[in-house]
């Protein structure tokens, strides 16, 4: 028998003591503490940061049993549809096209296995209330449904007319140029047999894959000097037969198609369910319709819109906080939360100012994130300068020095210009005078310090009177 060294005994004893002490500190879940419950499903495989971070409302579920007859196997299928916290609005810059879209999670349960699909429902027009549309009962829905697999891959595109699925496209390949694709009825019947499907031989419409090119246009003293191509994306939609030129309108990039055309950037802003049908959404929609928001965001950055921007209401903000902009770690998602507790008591212009203020923060964050956290003095001299000079509150320092008149101008347009420019600029100072740092010291912005006492008094008076 091999002899053991006394040191080995000592080490083993110490290890035993260590394990014993660790064991004493452990508490089994469910005994002395309650752990938060964990959702059993996530979209972590999705590349799209918005979809990756969506939340599923497991309590809001609609269930149907699917008949086995239309399927290749004989098992019964249970379909469950869950709501998500995502909805959105597809908007074109010229305000001609705008439609509400919604996302649902579909669980297809057969025997003991579940398969999940994320559904993106895009209506043909904006007259339908998307909050009431269920994929399991599409009623009068006409439009396109994108079906994503758990892996994030686009699995299928479906075309509907008045709740009846007329076309099903399962092989999705980006096209180099916009091209019509003949619609066809699925050869094995409907994908899930509880659906109404056309039994005809197709011809109800066609799928059109269109290409979106994003450019940044560069100007010197209002003179167009060139463009940089940013990215190309493809989008497939179902177009019913009989859609005529009169139903369509054209979009061109400006100045690519001549200065007379408006820009055709496709913007997808995500609204959390908490934001929907609130005063905040109403104010936001007014800002978008008047084009104020986009035009003034463009003023401080030629690249727009703010990427992956999500609006929500939060009831966890303190009573002194009107809004908060935050970056979700590990993603390109930037969330803007307005204070749900104080919203009802605030004027619409106050809410508009907060939204615009937070969008500027979001844009500054976007610049940092998209430049991999290293900002060049050549590309963004303002951000470089203020982050170099101020380790605390750099964004507020920059906004106080350079964006008061921009915010003021935006508020003037939003309000119908019923007050003087000075008045709107004064209101814009709200939130830009200073903040307490983590050590409890009040740090006022340099631009605020440089104002005369008369100006400060007038600004504080106008802000106070406006509330």
């Amino acid at each position: 028998m091999e002899k053991t060294h006394p040191i080995q005994h000592t080490l083993l004893f110490l290890l035993f003591i260590l394990l014993l002490s660790c064991r004493e500190d452990e508490v089994k879940p469910g005994e002395d503490m309650e752990l938060p419950s964990l959702p059993q499903f996530s979209f972590q495989n999705f590349d799209d940061p918005i979809l990756k971070n969506l939340s599923i409302d497991w309590d809001d579920v609609k269930i149907v049993k699917s008949h086995p007859s239309a399927r290749t196997d004989s098992s019964e299928v249970l379909l469950s549809e869950y709501s998500t916290d995502l909805s959105g609005r597809l908007t074109l810059d010229d305000s001609l096209g705008s439609k509400e879209i919604s996302f649902k999670l579909l669980e297809q349960k057969s025997s003991d296995t579940s398969e999940y699909f994320l559904l993106k429902l895009i209506p043909d027009n904006d007259s339908i209330d998307m909050s009431k549309v269920s994929y399991l009962d599409l009623g009068g829905f006409s439009g396109t449904v994108h079906v994503f697999k758990e892996t994030g891959e686009l699995y299928a595109v479906q075309g509907y007319i008045n709740g009846v699925m007329e076309a099903w496209l399962q092989t999705i390949e980006p096209q180099d140029e916009a091209a019509g694709r003949a619609a066809f009825v699925p050869s094995v019947g409907c994908p899930w047999s509880d659906y109404s499907c056309s039994t005809g031989g197709g011809g109800a419409g066609s799928f059109v894959t269109y290409r979106i090119d994003r450019y940044t246009d560069w100007f010197v003293n209002e003179r167009y000097v060139g463009s940089d191509h940013e990215w190309t994306r493809y989008h497939t939609v179902f177009v019913p037969t009989g859609t005529t030129r009169a139903d369509q309108h054209e979009h061109y990039e400006a100045p690519h198609a001549g200065a007379s055309h408006g820009s055709a950037h496709l913007m997808e802003i995500i609204k959390d369910a908490s934001f929907k049908n609130t005063k905040a959404e109403c104010v936001y929609d007014k800002l978008v319709k008047t084009n104020t928001l986009k035009r003034y965001v463009q003023k401080f950055d030629a690249k727009f819109p703010v990427a992956h921007l999500k609006f929500e209401l939060s009831s966890s903000l303190s009573s002194t906080t009107n809004g908060q902009t935050r970056h979700t770690p590990g993603s390109l998602l930037i969330n803007i939360a307005l204070n749900a507790n104080t919203l009802s008591g605030r004027t619409t212009m106050e809410v508009a100012r907060t939204i615009f203020h937070e969008i500027i923060h979001a844009e500054m964050y976007r610049i940092v994130i998209e430049n991999n956290y290293s900002v060049s003095i050549n590309d963004y001299p303002g951000v470089y300068d203020y982050y170099s000079r101020y380790k605390f509150n750099a964004q507020h320092q920059q906004m106080a020095a350079h964006y008061i008149d921009i915010i003021g101008q935006a508020l003037k347009e939003f309000d119908g210009a019923v007050q003087s420019d000075q008045y709107y600029d004064d209101i814009a100072w709200d939130g830009l005078m200073g903040n307490y740092d983590a050590a409890g010291n009040l740090v006022t912005t340099i631009a605020w310090n440089q104002l005369s006492q008369t100006d400060k008094n007038r600004i504080l008076g106008n802000i106070s009177n406006h509330k």
Binding site: D32, M33, S42, S55, T321, H327, Y387, Y436, A438
Partner: protein, 154 residues
């Protein structure tokens, strides 16, 4: 030390600083107390006292938001670890105050940009990825949450 080595060390210093804050463990106590902290009122510079420690749980996602003054720390059940320790073990833990954590953040930013350059490396708070927040639940027990310090602004 040879000049070449000094130059290498000089240029690697920012990377070392980032690695330091990424790996260093920061322990913060979330007290259930009536402590307050100063903030400004909405619309001016009047000092207002707000509850220092505020906790909010999203019942749908399970995410718990811990506010200490205006700084936000989040526990995400999908990403973070949760466990517990006995109070007796707590005395051996090196605890940071919010002020001292923030000081580390400022120092790390300065270290990352310690030499003149045409680019500035901007440090986001979530790059501190080893932060633990302790919440006392009974006399003898603390829950220990791994949290993310959220980059946010009002």
């Amino acid at each position: 030390m040879p000049l070449k080595k000094m130059c290498i060390l000089f240029f690697l210093w920012p990377l070392a600083s980032l690695g330091q804050i990424e790996n260093q463990e920061f322990n913060i106590v979330f007290y259930k107390s009536d402590s307050v902290c100063k903030t400004t009122d909405s619309g001016g510079l009047t000092t207002v006292l707000i509850e220092k420690y505020r906790k909010h749980q999203n019942t749908k996602t399970g995410i718990i938001s811990f506010y200490i003054c205006d700084e936000l720390f989040e526990y995400n059940p999908k990403l973070n670890v949760i466990d517990s320790i006995k109070s007796s073990a707590f005395k051996d833990i090196d605890v940071f105050s919010l002020g001292s954590l923030y000081k580390k953040y400022i120092e790390a930013q300065e270290a990352l940009n310690s030499y003149a350059s045409n680019t500035i490396r901007i440090l986001f708070k979530n790059e501190f990825n080893n932060i633990w927040l302790y919440e006392q639940v009974t006399t003898n027990l603390y829950i220990r949450y791994q949290v993310q310090w959220i980059e946010n602004i009002e």
